[in-house]
Symmetry: C2
């Protein structure tokens, strides 16, 4: 009589889910990796898709291709909508998939702080689709400015507001400044794209709050030298068809508003009816399982985990990867009969943020640098973590080409309805 | 007193419009190039976007970037909806743009022979959006087959029908065979993608009817050796949610149906109220102007032109380019006072069609070859005509990578609503 192989279901093929599946790929278990998309997305470079520097295919890989040779890993494209913790199954509303162990790695979505109606005016940047929508709005605004004869309308078309001064907001502001002030230079006959207004709005006292204060200052100065209007201590109180309203009573007319401010965890916490923090992230135990459910792990942006000094582990790619690797190893050991696991410890590798061409901030413990060498470091680090030879070559080539010519490779306004 | 510069309006930035603008770029005239998209598309490789081998950005270039340094060329993104031949203006419904000379190069769309309701079931391949829609359907069908437990449903998901055996249909059939039978090999656990049924339906007696008969036979055999079911002399009488119905009374259940059968000219003929042929193309005079309107030229797929032996000039890229170059030169000479023009003569450079990896047909007058050298010739010819260094490098690299690994670079099922 053969013992049935344990069934491990992983929901989400982001950084966390992918690492967990990889770490488990050699274990004697049947692994099902489920994602609502058919690809793994390298989210740190998504802002480059939104600003026409890269194509979606450059930073996304078919999940099943990654696990082609791991015959015990099945990849399914389905959107999970619920977990039955008693029957131990997950479902997408049609299929019911049983599990012995469950790893939830469903990530996070953007949050408009209770104002979901703002999303139509101020798209956020989480998915390929978001990036293409933002790319379309950015490029279309210049075309409309060129066609317009009304100076006010033209000014509005040539104004972009970015809400949120974290890494995404800063990277978007820098990339849009490059696009408008350099790439489009000389291509219009009625407008001067170099006069585009780019306004970065941050509610807190400084941009890049996870960096040391003096590095935030470097970033602010870099952005200003690129023509970005950086406004800290300013809160957006409304987004509408015309632009944004600010807490100081002002209003900015802008054709393009980009939301880079809030993040909310996926609804996985509700599926489990588990304790959650304010952002909706599931409170997990020291080994990343859910209290009362030793067979359910929650990792990545969906998990609320504390690191050194009781500081929350940030919702960044390296943290998700570390949790995925940890759970993969712990679970592989459990399958071999080793039930006790050392608690998960987050190792903060540091922070990276790029501020347009030729400048990036690197903060890794005592090691801090910025400027051109920071930018080179940033480039190499990102190329390193891309999956596969093809993406590395194509992204490197596109970056060099972009660097030399200022041109961007994917300046398409798509014609979908 | 200065003489006002003549205003030349070109509608359409396809092969014809682009060449006309280039040929006129150095003349003493103000040129306005209008297109409803912001990019020029290299349509001959669109089937590779539809089959996930290339990204849209690889075969599309921002039109205004192409004319960045031609200061007398203005590029506008607008969808022209009418021409006033008396006032000599064109309009998009809002702006009114005056012309002294007008060049209409608005191309062609697909035709469902009076059955426009088929388009939802059988998308055609004319735009980037069409290509992404087809890519999504093709890839999604395999994901659905993997999830399905019903054998009939699974078979339907793994059946693709291509309607029309011209160059587009043949190239799609070959590329889909490669995708299904090679790229996806070993990536699924429940289905065997190598068993995908690919059915090419042609109403006429042979595929590739513009080629000599013996080359059609080579193409048919190549496709059959790749596992494509080629059915000539068979007509599609209905497309519906389940699949297609055939003139012999049969019905094929297919999740993916691709329309590569009919072409209709753009509505430019109706704008002018000019004489048109059955496909809606405008009857033009020997110098490609419209009878009674010596200031209006119609070129490319929108024009009905006769070549050697009174045979119609085909709706292909080289013909559109030749007409664009001809009109550009003739009009430049007219502006210099040279009013008489030699008639347009179409020079048939030959036909090219690729049948999957390693095989292509080349028919250039007496020169005919096929197989691997045909395929190399096809690759070089297409790389040659791509615009710009970046696209040539990226497409070449993607092809080599695809050739060596069988992998495809843009296998994304987009998540747009």
């Amino acid at each position: 009589m053969s013992i049935p192989r344990p069934r491990i279901v992983i929901i989400g093929a982001g950084f966390g889910g992918l690492e967990a599946a990889r770490a488990l790929g050699k274990s004697e278990a049947d692994i099902t990796l489920i994602d609502r998309r058919n690809f793994h997305l390298f989210q740190p470079l998504l802002y480059q898709v939104a600003t026409a520097a890269l194509s979606p295919g450059d930073i996304a890989w078919p999940t099943r291709s990654i696990f082609q040779h791991r015959k015990n890993v099945s990849v399914l494209m389905a959107e999970i909508t619920g977990v039955d913790t008693v029957a131990r199954t997950v479902t997408d509303g049609t299929a019911v998939i049983p599990y012995d162990y469950l790893i939830i790695a469903t990530g996070a979505a953007h949050s408009y702080f209770g104002h979901d109606e703002w999303s139509q005016f101020a798209p956020a940047l989480k998915t390929i689709d978001d990036a293409l929508k933002i790319r379309e709005r950015l490029l279309l605004a210049f075309e409309q400015a060129e066609l317009s004869t009304d100076p006010e309308q033209r000014l509005r078309c040539m104004t972009t507001v970015i809400v949120g001064g974290g890494a995404t907001g800063v990277e978007m502001a820098g990339a849009i400044a490059e696009l408008a002030h350099r790439t489009l230079l000389g291509e219009f006959r009625q407008i001067q794209p170099e006069k585009t207004r780019i306004i970065l709005i941050e509610a807190g006292p400084r941009i890049l709050p996870t960096f040391p204060a003096h590095m935030s200052e470097i970033a602010r100065r870099s952005l200003q030298s690129m023509g970005v209007d950086v406004r800290t201590g300013s809160q957006v109180t409304d987004c509408n068809a015309q632009g944004v309203a600010l807490s100081d009573g002002g209003h900015i007319d802008a054709a393009t508003v980009i939301w880079a401010a809030g993040v909310a965890a996926s609804p996985a916490g509700a599926w489990l009816d588990a304790a959650r923090d304010r952002a909706g992230r599931v409170q997990v135990t020291a080994d990343l399982t859910v209290q009362g459910f030793p067979e359910i792990y929650v990792i990545g942006d969906t998990a609320s985990v504390r690191g050194k000094g009781d500081r929350p582990v940030p919702g960044v790619a390296p943290a998700a990867k570390q949790m995925g690797q940890y759970v993969g190893k712990v679970l592989a050991a459990r399958l071999l009969g080793n039930a006790t696991a050392a608690p998960f410890v987050y190792s903060n590798l540091g922070d990276l943020a790029t501020v347009g061409r030729k400048s990036a901030l690197v903060s890794m413990g005592r090691l801090e640098f910025s400027g051109f060498f920071g930018w080179l470091f940033w480039c190499i680090a990102h190329i390193w973590f891309l999956i596969g030879f093809r993406s590395r070559v194509v992204v490197t080539f596109n970056w060099i080409w972009n660097y030399v010519t200022f041109k961007r490779s994917a300046r398409l306004i798509s014609d979908r309805d």
